[in-house]
């Protein structure tokens, strides 16, 4: 590989362009979010007088404090539990080689292809029958279940890449299945668990349809649906819509930046294999 500038430049230029392409829409959004509220924004138009107050207005107009609480409760209720449960299942399927584990896995993965929207109505009636309708548990428990296919898929491919001898050796040393999981495999799987945690956080954070249908009180809905407030049937407040969208994605970007080290590591270690 040559290191001369003439050969390096095009590469770096291309990568710069690719990076720009990723963030232009976000920048465009930011430029719109800072304009005065009575204008309809045009193009990339950074104002000299950024209206930071728009973020405060968007926040209060869309009742975001209340919705944020619902979103946080949902994430806290769903993500850790789903992480643990799916990791245990993938461990059982791959490492412990449970009987019929392959079939369980196949069924899980096949449901990955079903549009999520169709289970919403059945879940409504199931929650009703179980007395869970209009409760937080009525949202948390189904979301844990709905996370299983992808989560097991993700963790399984990770465990598949762990050498089988690891388990054999630990068994010979007299470790119980639980102890081996807790002391050997789980620590090694940290990047995969962290990256899965990030993806689960995202999908839970973005969930708006399930609360909308399962919760009768709009105060129990989530932040992800808050943007609709800026688009009513008489018009759209473009500026506040963009400000609200930035507020919606700020936490996800923050979590990503914190976890991205693990994320890339997990990918590099081959977390995802078909």
């Amino acid at each position: 590989m040559s290191d001369s500038w003439s050969s390096k430049l095009p590469r770096y230029a291309l990568l710069g362009a690719v990076a720009l392409y990723s963030i232009i829409p976000v920048l465009s959004m930011l430029s719109a979010a800072l304009l005065p509220q009575n204008v309809i924004p045009t193009g990339l138009n950074f104002t000299l007088h950024p209206q930071w107050h728009n973020f405060v207005d968007a926040w209060s107009l869309a009742n975001m404090s209340t919705l944020l609480k619902s979103s946080v409760l949902l994430v806290v209720g769903v993500v850790p539990a789903a992480l643990l449960i799916s990791t245990l299942a993938a461990y059982a399927i791959v490492i412990l080689r449970i009987p019929l584990g392959g079939i369980f896995y196949a069924v899980l993965v096949l449901t990955l292809v079903l549009p999520f929207e169709i289970v919403v109505i059945p879940l409504y009636f199931q929650d009703q029958a179980m007395g869970l309708l209009n409760t937080r548990w009525g949202l948390i428990l189904p979301l844990i279940g709905l996370n299983m296919p992808f989560a097991v898929f993700w963790m399984r491919s990770y465990f598949l890449n762990m050498p089988a001898e690891l388990y054999e050796a630990a068994t010979v040393d007299g470790g119980s299945a639980w102890a081996i999981f807790w002391k050997v495999h789980l620590p090694l799987a940290r990047p995969a668990v962290a990256s899965l945690g990030l993806l689960m956080f995202l999908s839970t954070w973005n969930q708006f349809l399930l609360p909308l249908v399962l919760m009768a009180n709009p105060n129990n809905w989530t932040l992800a649906g808050a943007l609709q407030t800026f688009q009513n049937k008489y018009g759209t407040n473009e500026v506040l819509l963009n400000a609200g969208a930035i507020e919606l994605m700020a936490p996800t970007i923050l979590v990503y930046l914190i976890l991205q080290r693990h994320f890339v590591k997990a990918m590099m270690q081959g977390a995802v294999k078909g």
Binding site: A19, P115, P149, A177, L257
Partner: protein, 307 residues
């Protein structure tokens, strides 16, 4: 933790212990089985049964209509069109991102590890992190009459091409599809970069010694070496293409006319705007079958040759 007690107590004979352990292992998988079975599998079976009824999702009684809802999927022009659009999306969600990802990964291979690579990788993955609702807002805005795309076209003197993209019967579908490219490129690039990293550098050196240029090194070393990763990218992105919903719903709701209608949006409309639960479930089942018909052979194809 009964499994532990049991399995440690029966240390020998070893074989019996292994079999026991294998069964006891189900205790680890049981929570997942329960949550999945109750909160996903059972609802799926319900949805399957709804697809044979005419029902508004509220009434205590449902009207049996047999296969009529399935018939509608293939005879109603807009439902059929939505399936075709989903296939067009494969180009934007799969073909373009995987191609871009291969280019990026090939170039990144030659860049030394360091902050530049990290920053680029982080930024590339960013679209994947942005909530669909926010991405819809951003791109609606990019494509609007006074938005970024048209502004840039005017800057570079191509003002005559500037137009309201999402209102065009011919260009709205590619415009929305390109948002899928934007979303998926990061994921594919990172996955493929990981794959390139695991290719033996010796192979590249050998190819160079044989006089292979960059293109041939790519054909002979990179592409075969990435078979598995390409398989994962293709699978994930095809599922994303065929079941796309939020971006389209937030940008065009299927318009203008029905030109950007995709099955995900049609399922949502049928279920939640038109209160036709049966028809929505039937379309979803057909969609799922189509996805399976495509994804399962692909999986087999990309697995072939592995271990």
């Amino acid at each position: 933790m009964t499994a532990t007690a049991e399995s440690t107590a029966t240390a020998s004979p070893r074989r019996r212990s292994v079999v026991l352990r294998r069964y006891a292992g189900w205790i680890f998988a049981l929570p997942a089985l329960l949550f999945y079975g109750i909160f996903e599998f059972r609802p799926i079976l319900s949805a399957l049964s709804y697809s044979f009824y005419q029902w508004d999702g509220v009434a205590p009684t449902k009207k049996w209509v047999g296969l009529a809802n399935y018939g509608a999927v293939f005879t109603q022009p807009q439902q059929l069109a939505s399936l075709i659009h989903a296939f067009v999306f494969i180009f934007f969600f799969t073909v373009l991102p995987v191609s871009f990802g291969l280019v990026v990964a090939s170039i990144m291979r030659t860049v030394k590890p360091g902050p530049y690579g990290t920053v680029t990788r982080t930024l590339l993955f960013l679209p994947q992190i942005i909530p669909g609702a926010a991405a819809g807002v951003a791109w609606n805005w990019m494509y609007s009459r006074d938005g970024f795309v048209n502004t840039v076209l005017q800057w570079v003197g191509l003002g005559s091409l500037a137009q309201p993209w999402l209102g065009s019967f011919s260009l709205a579908l590619p415009a929305v599809g390109f948002v899928g490219t934007w979303l998926a490129t990061g994921l594919c690039s990172v996955l493929l970069m990981a794959g390139v990293g695991s290719i033996d550098p010796g192979l590249y050196e050998a190819a160079s010694l044989d006089g292979a240029g960059a293109w041939w090194r790519f054909r002979a070393v990179t592409l075969p070496g990435l078979r598995q990763q390409i398989g994962v990218c293709v699978t994930i992105t095809i599922i994303a293409a065929l079941s796309s919903f939020d971006v389209v719903y937030l940008m065009t709701q299927g318009g203008p006319g029905y030109t950007t209608l995709v099955p995900g949006v049609e399922v949502y409309n049928l279920a939640f705007n038109e209160n036709q639960i049966g028809a929505a479930c039937a379309l979803a089942v057909v969609l799922a079958l189509i996805v399976m018909l495509i994804v399962v052979p692909l999986q087999l194809f990309f697995r072939k040759g592995d271990s």
